[in-house]
């Protein structure tokens, strides 16, 4: 078979007799359709999120009282180690890849990703890696040196658990490298003719920046972990001080990846929020180029700030100043994004549906994490609060208030596209309200705990902190409860929800110009771009030009708008087939 034929067969999902109709079985097997893979990613990672969330609540239950009375200290350490590892490597990072998989080809008018098989391979590394990690709990020797796994501690705790942890993270890292290569090539090579980089939706810019960052930083983590594995298994002493190794070198290698990783976790959702806010505010995004370039700036600066995690560890005095300044500078592009979102909402016609509420919640809580981040960059202050609950509060405002709310906003926004059905708005709003209350109740008091002197990663603490810890724990229970309306709503709406039509939000980006859910190869014919992605409020913006127009270039004209009419059902593949 030629390359082209291979590509053809690769694109036909297993088990489907007709294009456009997918069987539920497709989602459980090796499938190369980017939309199937995207949903596989999202569902799988959400399951891991629930597991990580249960662990978080076990951690919080232990911390309800100052004594160690719920689990043993060893189990406690395993719990927060697994909680963090799962949340980071099995939920937020791959969830971003899930959205990118589903959306990028649609947004740029491509039929699929550049390397569909590689794409599927990248996904299929995740379930075994996750199961491996969780299996370590069952084996009874779970990793318990924290998700940072600093030697020498990680070398003297259980060997099996630590080895499993390294294996699992290496697999997940490989998966995200493969994904990143695919996104970059797709974004660079597969845009429809006529879509220059400045016509790309902002989510694509964000994924471009994220993937570049992944490619540069992940291999360094892999190198660090492999050396750590040698120390652990083969008795070398790269990091082991008993043989003259230097544990601080590990910290450099680890944070060279793991600081950028927080941008890998947040940038995709910056991108998603930049899609959601203009659509539901009915206004063009304010400062398109500023937002696009600020993603690149964040991605570049993200590579030179890692040592701010090591201000109290082994780096020379002057070097702390360098990393303080680079860290501070990141606040500038981040601020640009936040102000641009506010300006987009200002004067708009804001539809306060669940997607938009989560987007507003994202901006509102992320700001708190961002502000405390700038404070942490100030070396003399960080020296006080490093490794305390102030940091735990900061990181959860960023990762929960940022990434997780961003994921929810994106799910509510693209749910109609993914499933062809609307979510129930009432239960969506209940979900939102519970999440916001739970989030702030859990993490706000932690700022004070950290400042007053509660260090992190401890199973027993000074009784004077009991009251605030109780509040945090009850907040965590509310967060656990908050996921139920979401899970039930998502499943119910997927099966029985109101039919969505192709473009229920009257959005302008290309993914809304096809059927919901999109047909196997996305578009009947190559779409033609006649509008920017955010041209809301422009004169003829409401005249839709059907995509299947036999002569789209001519009829669309330079200023008319390519968009599907919300009321008129868009010609589906099925109806097209009937006509033939």
């Amino acid at each position: 078979m030629t390359q082209a034929q291979l590509q053809e067969t690769a694109n036909i999902p297993a088990l489907s007799e007709e294009p456009g109709i997918r069987k539920w079985q497709d989602y459980f097997g090796f499938n190369t359709d980017h939309k199937v893979i995207g949903i596989q990613y999202l569902v799988t990672t959400f399951i891991f999120y629930c597991i990580g969330g249960v662990m978080a609540d076990l951690v919080r239950t232990e911390l309800r009282t100052p004594e160690v009375d719920f689990v043993t200290p060893e189990v406690y350490n395993s719990l927060f180690t697994l909680h963090a590892t799962i949340m980071i490597f099995l939920w937020i990072v791959p969830a971003g890849a899930g959205f990118a998989n589903f959306l990028i080809p649609l947004m740029i008018g491509a039929k699929d990703m550049a390397f569909p098989r590689l794409n599927a391979v990248a996904f299929w590394m995740i379930p075994p890696a996750g199961l491996l990690l969780i299996a370590s709990l069952v084996v009874g020797d779970a990793p318990d040196a924290g998700w940072t796994s600093y030697p020498p501690l990680s070398l003297v705790t259980g060997q099996v658990g630590e080895g499993i942890w390294i294996m699992s993270v290496l697999l997940l890292g490989t998966s995200s490298i493969l994904g990143a290569i695919n996104f970059l090539v797709t974004l660079l090579k597969m845009r429809i003719p006529g879509m220059g980089v400045h016509q790309m939706p902002l989510f694509c810019w964000a994924m471009f920046a994220t993937s570049a960052l992944t490619l540069v930083s992940t291999p360094v983590l892999a190198a660090g972990l492999i050396l750590l594995a040698f120390d652990l298994i083969a008795g070398t002493t790269f990091f082991n001080p008993t043989g003259g190794g230097d544990p601080v070198v590990y910290q450099h290698m680890f944070w060279f990846y793991s600081h950028p990783a927080v941008y890998i976790m947040i940038l995709p959702f910056f991108g998603a929020i930049s899609e959601i806010i203009p659509v539901h505010s009915r206004k063009p995004i304010f400062g398109y180029k500023a937002i696009a370039y600020s993603s690149l700036a964040i991605s570049f600066l993200g590579l030179i700030v890692w040592a701010h995690h090591m201000f109290t560890s082994g780096i020379p005095g002057w070097l702390r100043m360098f990393f303080m300044i680079t860290t501070m500078i990141i606040a500038v592009p981040t601020g640009i994004k936040i102000f641009s979102w506010l300006a987009t909402m200002w004067g708009g016609k804001i539809r306060l549906n669940t997607a938009m509420l989560f987007a507003i919640g994202f901006v509102g809580t992320f700001v708190i994490g961002g502000i405390s981040g700038v404070m942490l960059a100030a070396v003399p202050f960080d020296i006080h609060v490093h490794d305390t609950y102030f940091v735990v509060a900061h990181l959860h405002y960023v990762l929960f208030g940022g990434s997780v709310l961003g994921i929810y906003a994106a799910i509510y926004h693209w749910f109609p596209k993914m499933t062809g059905r609307m979510v129930n708005e009432f239960w969506g709003k209940v979900h939102f309200a519970l999440t916001i209350v739970g989030l702030n109740m859990t993490f706000l008091p932690m700022h004070k705990l950290g400042l007053m002197g509660m260090n992190r990663r401890i199973a027993q603490y000074d009784p004077k902190f009991t009251f605030l810890n109780e509040i945090c724990t009850y907040g965590a229970y509310i967060l656990a409860v908050s996921t139920f309306p979401f899970i039930i709503n998502a499943i119910w709406s997927w099966l029985y929800g109101e039919k969505a039509g192709n473009n229920p939000w009257r959005a302008l980006t290309l993914e809304w110009m096809t059927t919901s859910p999109p047909a196997i190869e996305n578009f009947d014919q190559t779409p033609v771009l006649a509008t920017g992605p955010y041209d809301y409020g422009l004169e003829n913006a409401n005249e839709g030009v059907p995509l299947s127009d036999p002569n789209p270039v001519l009829s669309a004209g330079p200023n008319s708008v390519l968009r599907a009419d919300p009321d008129e059902p868009y010609p589906t593949i099925e109806s097209e087939l009937e006509k033939r």
């Binding site: 001080p241 304010f286 082994g314 404070m375 490093h386 409020g537």
Partner: protein, 361 residues
């Protein structure tokens, strides 16, 4: 009467500023400040709280205001005005955060210098990246930063470490034959990273020296001038103290919240911090770096007291340590495992037997 927008903006601006200043000064979020350094750090924190409160109120205010004010009214399906950008505005909101972070950086830089972050003594005498680092396993990454040929300079780290080992108590807990001294640590035989002498005291030795060793899950203090070993740290008010610390198993971190100072104690390295206690009281030294299951229990009392009380305590310790030494005279402390060595002290140090059991398993 309709109040013009500019007046509203001005009023809101004034209220915001006042609220920020008030909260920045009255947040009550920090514990007591017990050292000269802590007072400086608190000044920085309060300044950052003022700015943060302002930004927080501004952003949340605009967000909530626009969500209500500009929400879509029933039946209105039109789009908003197609405003796509505004260059002066964008420059403004790039410039304001830039100025704020530069301001915070300059202030932090100043505080950092005041608390001794730039003690030249720690930087000048030893090259930043000792060239022999090439020969050290595990320092490959550091080595690539410099391609100068290996030097023949003496290993200052080793010398300093040997010096500290003269003290038998330190020698007993330092585990030095198992964990060799790194030679590529920057600074004179120390560390890493240091909060050294404040600018006026830089280069001079501190008035009181305390060696601190962290081990799973206890802190051991030795006073080299008197040879005392304790599980409780006492320091006199108003005299500059230098802590030289290391760890003999995994990384620990020295943190007294009321001192606002933290420093990792790393096996194979020596790190140091200097500070001047200011306020009498009983504080707690907390280990702030995950060091195993009983990490949360790794605490030690720290007492800041007037000079006379300190001297009195020192006398008591000298008497007590003679007695302990008499009991243990037959054995060389260096031959004992930390567990055995610590046994006589554990009661005083408040270490529970189950934790000690944990030390060697």
């Amino acid at each position: 009467m309709k109040i013009p927008t500019s007046i509203w903006t001005l009023l809101i601006g004034i209220v915001l500023t006042l609220a920020s200043f008030w909260y920045g000064q009255n947040h009550g979020l920090l514990p007591a400040a017990a050292t000269d350094e802590a007072v400086l750090v608190d000044g920085l924190f309060n300044a950052m709280m003022i700015v943060s409160t302002g930004i927080f109120l501004l952003v949340e205010g605009i967000l909530i205001y626009s969500a209500f004010r500009y929400r879509q009214r029933a039946g209105d399906n039109k789009d908003g005005p197609p405003v796509e950008g505004n260059i002066p505005l964008e420059i403004l909101w790039t410039a304001i955060p830039a100025i704020i972070v530069i301001g915070i950086s300059v202030y932090s830089f100043d505080v950092y210098n005041e608390i001794g972050g730039f003690d030249p003594h720690a930087i000048h005498e030893a090259p930043m990246m000792n060239q022999e680092s090439m020969a050290m396993p595990g320092s490959a990454m550091a080595a690539t930063l410099s391609d100068t040929p290996p030097s023949t300079e003496p290993n200052l780290n080793q010398e300093k470490s040997d010096e500290a080992m003269q003290d038998p108590a330190t020698a007993a807990v330092r585990n030095a034959d198992q964990i060799p001294q790194l030679r590529n640590a920057p600074g004179v035989g120390s560390v890493a990273p240091t909060i050294g002498g404040t600018p006026d005291k830089a280069g001079k030795p501190a008035e009181l020296q305390v060696n601190v060793t962290g081990l799973q899950y206890a802190w051991i203090f030795t006073y080299p001038e008197t040879g005392i070993t304790t599980g409780e740290m006492h320091v006199p008010i108003g005299r500059e103290v230098q802590i030289s610390m290391t760890a003999n198993d995994v990384i620990h971190a020295f943190w007294v919240p009321e001192f606002r100072l933290k420093q990792d104690a790393i096996p194979g390295r020596q790190s140091e911090i200097r500070f001047t206690p200011q306020k009498a009281g009983d504080y707690t030294l907390i280990c702030a770096e995950l060091c195993g299951p009983y990490h949360g229990a790794m605490r030690a009392p720290v007492v800041v007291e007037p000079q006379e009380a300190f001297d009195k305590w020192m006398q008591e310790q000298l008497v007590a340590s003679k007695e302990t030494l008499n009991q243990a005279i037959a054995v060389n402390p260096a031959d004992l495992s930390p567990n055995e060595f610590l046994a006589p002290y554990t009661k005083d140090m408040g270490i529970k037997p189950e934790i000690l059991h944990q030390v060697h398993h």
